[in-house]
């Protein structure tokens, strides 16, 4: 068949021609992340382009604590962040909603009341990106993030 386009079709083609030089990027339909993956980059073929089966709880359980902290702070509002928080909880880390940091008991608390507990804790300082120890710290339960993540 011969090319017998109507003028409307020719016009559409001209517009498409330009539009396909300004294609949407994957980030256009994703929520804003202030950090994390940016523009696509051409990688060599031997470089893996996807990880297999990483969307399961088992996978996140296997990650190191520091990796989980990275995911928690840098992939906000994603499914990965949710999995990371869940995995941290199973490793007995608890989130402090005022300091926005994760705490873990270093030893049995010296005092436990209905409102708080006090003792030595290890916490993850996201600004210095390191684990630190704090003696005589009071963890008030009103700052304990205790929603059931299911």
């Amino acid at each position: 068949p011969q090319n017998s386009f109507t003028s409307e079709q020719k016009q559409s083609m001209n517009i498409l021609e330009v539009a396909c030089k300004r294609l949407p990027l994957p980030i256009d339909s994703q929520r804003c992340r202030h950090l994390g993956p940016g523009a696509p980059y051409q990688t060599p073929d031997y470089y893996p382009s996807s990880a297999p089966k990483c969307n399961t709880m088992e996978f996140f359980q296997r990650l190191s604590t520091e990796t989980l902290f990275f995911i928690f702070y840098f992939l906000q509002g994603t499914k990965a962040q949710y999995f990371a928080a869940k995995a941290l909880k199973t490793k007995s880390w608890r989130f402090h909603t005022m300091f926005m940091m994760w705490f873990q008991r270093h030893e049995e608390p010296k005092t436990i009341t209905d409102d708080f507990e006090q003792g030595t804790y290890v916490y993850f300082d996201f600004e210095k990106w390191t684990q630190r120890k704090k003696e005589g710290f009071t963890f008030e339960y009103k700052y304990l993030e205790d929603k059931d993540l299911n």
Binding site: P1, Q9, I15, L16, A19, C20, L23, P24, C32
Partner: protein, 543 residues
């Protein structure tokens, strides 16, 4: 001023009002001030979860500025805000200093995402909590305004048009309104309808500059999941089918040409991917709407059509077509009719033709009906566009279903002997014998479009095609039947089950004397091809 009321009326009036510029003095400045304020508040740490704190402060400011006084002012506020967001995006996109696409996007999204949150909050909080009408109306109005601004922007800017800001507004707004909240869940069906209507207004034929973003929206996993899996089945499915039909219609004239331009190739590839997802996740959807899709897909798009025709209900197990001595007529599914969600009876036009057709089917007279059939289907004398394809498709399916009913009413099931010597077969044989090459090709394609998973249509039309082959008075007819089957099989997978069954029967069953025909040996490569197909049919290899 607004034509009609209700959601559709709101959308219409939004589209028209996007072209009204006689704003009261000072409104532009007020809107600009408010939008700036909102963007700052949205990004402030004090905004609260989902910007709730910021929003109550902002509504107070809107009140102070008098924006919320009348519906008209609110409408104008949305129009101006949309235009400002779009203009800002254009300035960022044209900025020569910004090279990185991520930086450009971060700058655009800063404002666009804030604006989207504002729309979502205003929709959620408009009227009382239980007043769904106000919320739905406002949503339709805003979508109408964005649509109107887009169409006008494309008209004015032409090839300078950018899809980015609109794409972002639509997808983010859809995601915001898909959040798991009681207020939103209560109006979920209306939200889906509003977005489907918007996308239909902006179909590629109307907004070619938006086509790629449009396809992204239509195939977005959340959108697709909501429309096809979560919405009350029939409504969401019908709307989604309509969107796909509009895409196929747009592509058809371009795909009919053999030389595909790069932009069309890209859109075609995207369409195939959507179809693959649908075939994998929603095969019943493709089954139900196959007729309407095949009606608009260009005849030469073999693979695209095969994707649709290969769909079958998930609870069905298809016997391997290569099984030796497979008895198709003994399959339990073969007596059940498939669901066709298209009113093909009504597609047989004009009514006088339908009347003559019904009368011929009933009385097998007058013979002149058959001789005039070709003229009734022909629309022009231009090669390649001589026939009314939708009419041929409707005629073939209608006559076929009538035949199945007729045979079943007599207490029989369709097979090679019960389908013969009837008014229905008269019509088919006449179309095979009396048509020119083009007409016959379209007619045989209409039959082949029914060769799908095991069902009564597949079985009837499989028998019909084989019967037409056996009873053909010229080799040309047999060659064309072979061509139609073969060309659908030599493309890459998937291949519809009924198509394989029919072709295997043709080359295996000695009665058809397939191998004695000259066209089988017309060229060495064709001969080799047949032999290789035959080998794979006779000695099945484990797949």
């Amino acid at each position: 001023r607004a034509p009609g009321s209700g959601p559709i009326g709101m959308m219409y009036s939004g589209i028209t009002q996007a072209r009204e510029f006689d704003d009261p003095p000072g409104l532009y400045e007020k809107t600009e001030f408010l939008l700036r304020e909102w963007v700052t508040m949205y990004h402030s740490p004090k905004a609260g979860k989902d910007s709730t704190n910021a929003f109550s402060l902002f509504v107070h400011q809107m009140n102070l500025q008098g924006i919320l006084k009348t519906d008209e002012l609110i409408t104008r506020f949305f129009r101006l805000s949309t235009e400002m967001c779009v203009d800002l995006s254009y300035r960022v996109l044209m900025d020569q200093n910004l090279k990185s696409p991520t930086v450009i996007r971060a700058k655009c999204f800063h404002t666009l995402d804030a604006y989207v949150r504002l729309i979502a909050l205003l929709v959620k909080h408009s009227g009382d909590n239980n007043n769904t009408v106000t919320k739905v109306n406002l949503l339709n109005k805003v979508l109408g305004i964005v649509t109107g601004v887009l169409l006008q922007d494309q008209e004015l800017r032409g090839v300078e048009f950018q899809q980015l800001p609109y794409h972002r507004i639509f997808i983010m707004l859809f995601l915001e309104l898909s959040a798991p909240e009681a207020v939103l869940e209560a109006i979920n069906p209306q939200i889906l309808t509003a977005f489907c209507n918007t996308l239909y207004y902006l179909r590629p034929q109307k907004a070619p500059g938006f086509a790629y973003a449009w396809l992204e929206l239509v195939s977005h996993r959340v959108f697709l999941g909501r429309v096809l899996a979560l919405s009350p089945a029939q409504k969401g499915w019908t709307m989604y089918a309509q969107l796909l039909v509009s895409l196929f219609k747009f592509l058809a004239p371009f795909l009919r040409n053999v030389e595909l331009a790069a932009p069309i190739q890209l859109l075609y590839k995207g369409t195939l991917r959507v179809l693959l997802v649908l075939l994998h996740d929603f095969p019943e959807f493709l089954c139900d709407y196959h007729y309407g899709f095949c009606d608009v897909i260009a005849p030469n798009c073999i693979q695209m059509r095969n994707l649709i025709l290969s769909a079958f209900p998930r609870n069905m197990r298809l016997p391997d077509p290569f099984t030796p001595n497979l008895k198709v007529d003994l399959l339990p599914e073969i007596t059940q009719a498939p669901r066709i969600l298209a009113n093909f009876n009504n597609l047989i036009q004009p009514p006088s033709f339908k009347k003559d057709l019904d009368s011929y089917i009933k009385t097998r007279a007058p013979v002149t009906f058959l001789s005039e059939l070709r003229t009734s289907l022909q629309v022009s004398n231009e090669p390649g566009m001589r026939y009314n394809i939708p009419l041929i498709n409707a005629l073939v399916l209608y006559v076929g279903t009538q035949a199945i009913q007729y045979i079943q009413n007599k207490g029989n099931t369709p097979n090679m002997s019960t389908i013969t010597h009837s008014s229905h077969m008269d019509i088919f044989q006449n179309l095979a014998v009396d048509s020119d090459t083009e007409g016959r090709y379209l007619f045989l394609n209409a039959i082949a479009n029914q060769l799908r998973y095991p069902n009564s249509h597949t079985h009837y039309f499989s028998c019909t095609l084989l019967y037409l082959f056996a009873e053909a008075n010229t080799e040309a007819i047999q060659e064309q039947i072979t061509r139609v089957l073969l060309e659908r099989l030599i493309v890459n997978r998937p291949h519809p089950w009924g198509l394989l069954i029919t072709f295997i029967e043709l080359i295996k069953n000695q009665n058809f004397k397939f191998w004695n025909h000259e066209f089988v040996r017309c060229a060495p490569e064709i001969e080799k091809l047949f032999e290789s197909v035959a080998r794979s049919c006779m000695h099945p290899k484990p797949s």
